[in-house]
Amino acid sequence: MATSSEVREGFLCPMCMKDLGTVSMLQDHFEEEHSNEDKDVLQQLRGLFGKAKKKILGEKENHDYVDQSDSVTDTYSANLTKTGYDSSLWDPQEIGMIRSHTDVFKATRGARVDRFVVETNKLIIRLDKLTGSNSPTDTGKRKAFEKSVVPWMPDKYVQTCPDCTRNFSLTRRRHHCRLCGGIMCDKCSHFLPHTFAKKLTNPAFQTEMEVGFLKRTGSNSSLNSLMSPEGEAHIRTCNNCRKLLERRDQQIQQRNVKPPIVIMYENLQSYVENAQMLLKEFIPMVESLSCGESTYNMYTAQQYRNKILKMYESIDSVSKRIWVYETNADPLPPATQLKMQKNIRTMATSFMQDNMIGLQALPSEEHYKKLQEARKIEIQQRIADERQAAAEAQEKERKQQEQRETTIKHQIHPSNRDSDQPAKTQKKSGWIPEETSIRYSDKDDPMVQQMNIIRGYIKQARQAEKYDEVKMLEQNLKDLQQEYLKQQRQNWS
């Protein structure tokens, strides 16, 4: 109350200096009019009156003032009526205790699995040698070569086939596994075609031409061709070695092959992620635009919207395809598979429901203009109102302000009168705001000017698609607006 010289008495509101007449009226007035403005003052006021009342009137506390200090039973019933579940009661908390056994697990597993791995690796190396380029094709030499790579077990040690336990005889001859040198009968032998061997021994070969090769492995590694002694070159192995090699093959296969449903699903996920990113940009745009603000460009917003709608279509179609995938196949895929496909579709639809179906439409061109007008009027109105309310109080400060205004203006934009410079060419480092294209009235408060300038920058930054800078500038703008409001309030109080 620097400006008013008279000393007033009565139940004055500390915010607007109205005389309310009675304590309770003042309190009501304060709660209604100023409760958002200053909680602390309200609390203070309440406390003050509470104490004063007790002292002066000797009055017992009215039940409005009953608080925790009262007896427990009272609060019990008082609190019963309050609403139930209040998450604000619960502080954020860190995740609970966790203990990992992964290391112990892996160490134990490692010791065990090593046995397989070492064995399998040995087989692979032998396989490589046997099918390599310097292996002789002549049958006689070949046998000697095979024996030199893998020593064969002497015939006399084995009287029965270890697999089928039948005795060897003239008709049931002994055969050697070319990979471990062990002995089994012909029926218990397995045959490994060279192409499959190549696949096992040369992972690099595989990754290079993955697609072509993978198609062929389907038939090559199938049971039939392994078993069949005819056709292409092959190697005789025992059951044990076959198992080890097949285990290796499966592991590699699993690492490198994606079933179609996984590929579809990965597409779906990438669309969802994309849509989420776009939405994050778009939502502040549409909110700002539908308030009639000019921070964002109508056209870019429209583009965003179109992009999002396109994502929406993709999500819809891919998730539908996942949903019906193989539903007409014969035989039907297992029920769990179908359930999962349905769940993926559910996820996609609920994502779309949450984010996209309610996608706010942009205001139309005309509507937007109207909005802008309305906003302009509203802002002017507000400023006018504030001005008027503060008119008397401001009179003095006005002059100071105007002084300050001019100095600040000069400081901030010394070149603001040179109009319409051509747009600066964009450098590698990115975009530089132009000060010139912003118009503002001289009468405005320097803060308002500054805000207009920043709005202009934001517009430019948006055109230059520098969204991180837009974000930063928006933060600045917000800070400024708050500061401005605060100043205004100070001015007219």
Partner: protein, 565 residues
């Protein structure tokens, strides 16, 4: 100290750790309830978990392109099942989480089964309890005692559950227990033992004031679970029954198919969250408000006066019904509650129940009970409530007429099994087994308090009763809880005002007690209390609890007392 959040954080960490890709969640019976209480299916689908399978279900399909998150309790069966699973792996990769401590030996068994190297993680995440609300958890043990003492399995499970609560909240508490209860002492010691054994797990940053774990026995307050309830959550549990947040409405006349089983979860239902602790009258109003709002929205000018009007209104607006699944759900539930209340004259019953426990005049009470039992209108089970309450309240009254009342029950055709319960409850929670003054609220001081309250306004006659737990915790907070009756385990004692309090009720807690804790949390700033029990009771489940606790009681042990009547 929010148990819902604690479990949620565990689950989402598991899912995050497995990285992107389609996932299946493999659980056992217990962990299924643990997970389903905190996550709605739609919520978990968004985290790329598309299948939910039970570890013990045979013949699951092989789906190598899925990552498997296995969250199971560390039981012997589960370890065996998992080992089998790994030998014939059905999914591409496995992330294994046990809900409690697992032995090194079991880890090795699993490691030896993992020839295909499909396991990526083996960890302990201590979510070994069912979180019902932020401040309420249960272990879903039905009938934890036999022969008035722990059954071995239940003691082990309770210890595991309680220690996992502590670990998930990172609390290493001082333990106090109810001295009059052997079970409470045994559980306290068992928890202490686990803490000592797993000392490495319990090394948390020291807080200024140590948390308190207070272990109580249901037998100290057998009254609370007998009473009819009038707050929404408690009432639904009492009259319909809540199991893992689900209620079964299939017995409601004229129920539509989609409402036969509904979920009531404060996590996913705003109306429920706001009204779970409101009393029946308020809920009626709030639902009406909600309906009015919808009505104005749909520009209907029909008057909605009664609950049946509301139902009609909903049926006329199918699209509205779809939109407001929540509203129609609550209208149905509240409608059913009010139907049951009217049909069985529960207001009348409840008023008398409250008077039995909170008022003093024996002969008047006895007369009223006799009149009510004689009338045709009330259910057998409610008659039983009244007689049980009477028996507990006037156990040592000189003119006690329990046998007369039991006889009256017999005349009304109440079954033997139910009539037995009157004596059973005396064995379970009678004067001899109580450590506290259960009916102590009726002394001079509280009477004068009531007088003053009467001046201020009419107290709700249906909610006069406050659970014993409420005053115990009030004393604990004020530092007035008696050392003798609730001693500390060990030498260290809390000097300051407690801040974090974990209460555990052996034999089950109730929603009325959960509400009491909620009220205390709201009214005592700086203090956070959570409550748990071996289960959450309504009257029916409490009868089973008592029946089982009494059963198998060796006659040499408590025989004379049992046969006295």
């Amino acid at each position: 100290m929010n148990v819902i959040l604690a479990i949620k954080q565990y689950i989402s960490k598991m899912i995050e750790d497995s990285g992107p890709g389609m996932k299946v969640l493999l659980m056992d019976k217990d962990t299924t309830s643990i997970v389903s209480m905190v996550y709605a299916q739609s919520e978990i689908l968004q985290k790329e978990v598309y299948l939910f399978e039970r570890l013990d279900s045979a013949g699951r399909e092989t789906m190598k392109h899925l990552k498997c998150i296995a969250f199971v309790r560390p039981t012997k069966e589960n370890v065996e099942l998992l080992a089998q699973e790994l030998r014939m792996s059905k999914y591409g990769l496995y992330y294994i989480y046990f809900s409690n401590v697992i032995s090194k030996q079991d880890v090795k068994v699993l490691a030896e089964a993992d020839d295909q190297e499909v396991v990526r993680e083996v960890q302990e995440f201590f979510g070994d309890y069912v979180a019902v609300s932020p401040h309420l958890f249960t272990l879903n043990i039905n009938g934890c005692c036999q022969g008035l003492n722990w059954s071995t399995d239940s003691l082990a499970r309770s210890t595991q559950g309680l220690t996992s609560v502590l670990l998930s909240l990172k609390k290493c508490p001082m333990i106090r227990y109810q001295n009059s209860s052997e079970t409470a002492r045994r559980l306290a010691e068992s928890v202490r033992q686990t803490i000592n054994k797993e000392a490495a797990l319990f090394e948390f940053r020291k807080t200024d004031v140590a948390p308190i774990l207070l272990i109580l026995d249901r037998r100290d307050d057998a009254v609370t679970p007998i009473l009819n309830q009038w707050t929404y959550q408690a009432m639904v549990h009492e009259l319909i029954g809540i199991a893992n947040s689900r209620i079964n409405l299939s017995n409601v006349p004229g129920i539509s198919k989609e409402l036969q089983e509904v979920v009531l979860s404060p996590e996913h239902d705003e109306f429920y969250a706001n009204n779970m602790y409101s009393n029946f009258g308020e809920i009626g109003n709030n639902i009406k408000d909600l309906m009015d709002e919808f009505q104005t929205k749909s520009k209907s000018h029909e008057k909605i006066e009664s609950i049946s009007d509301m139902k009609q209104f909903l049926e006329q607006y199918p699209q509205f019904k779809k939109m407001s699944g929540t509203v129609s759900k609550h209208v149905t539930v509240v409608g059913e509650l009010s139907r049951l209340t009217n049909k069985h004259h529960l207001l009348e019953v409840s008023e008398l129940e409250q008077d039995i426990v909170c008022q003093g005049d024996h002969s008047a009470i006895l007369q009223r009970i006799k009149t009510l039992i004689a009338s045709e209108k009330i259910q057998h089970i409610d008659m039983l409530r009244l007689v049980m309450l009477y028996a507990l309240r006037y156990e040592s009254h000189s003119n006690n007429d329990v046998s007369g009342l039991v006889d009256a029950l017999r005349k009304r055709g109440v079954s033997d099994r139910l009539r037995m319960m009157v004596h059973a409850v005396l064995d379970y929670g009678g004067k001899k087994s109580r450590g506290s003054d259960l009916f102590g609220n009726q002394d001079i001081v509280s009477l004068t308090k009531k007088f003053f309250k009467g001046v201020k306004g009419v107290e709700n006659v249906y909610t006069q009763h406050k659970p014993l737990l409420y005053s115990l915790l009030d004393q604990l907070i004020k530092g007035k809880l008696k050392e003798g009756a609730y001693p500390y385990l060990g030498v260290s004692q809390l000097k300051d005002r407690p801040q974090d309090i974990i209460v555990f009720v052996i034999g089950g807690t109730t929603f009325e007690e959960a509400l009491a804790i909620h009220t205390l949390n709201r009214s005592s700033p700086g203090i956070r209390i959570i409550i748990g029990g071996t289960t959450v009771h309504n009257f029916k489940s409490f009868l089973d609890e008592v029946a089982q606790a009494i059963q198998g009681q060796s006659s040499s042990n408590v025989g004379p007392r049992y046969h006295r009547r």
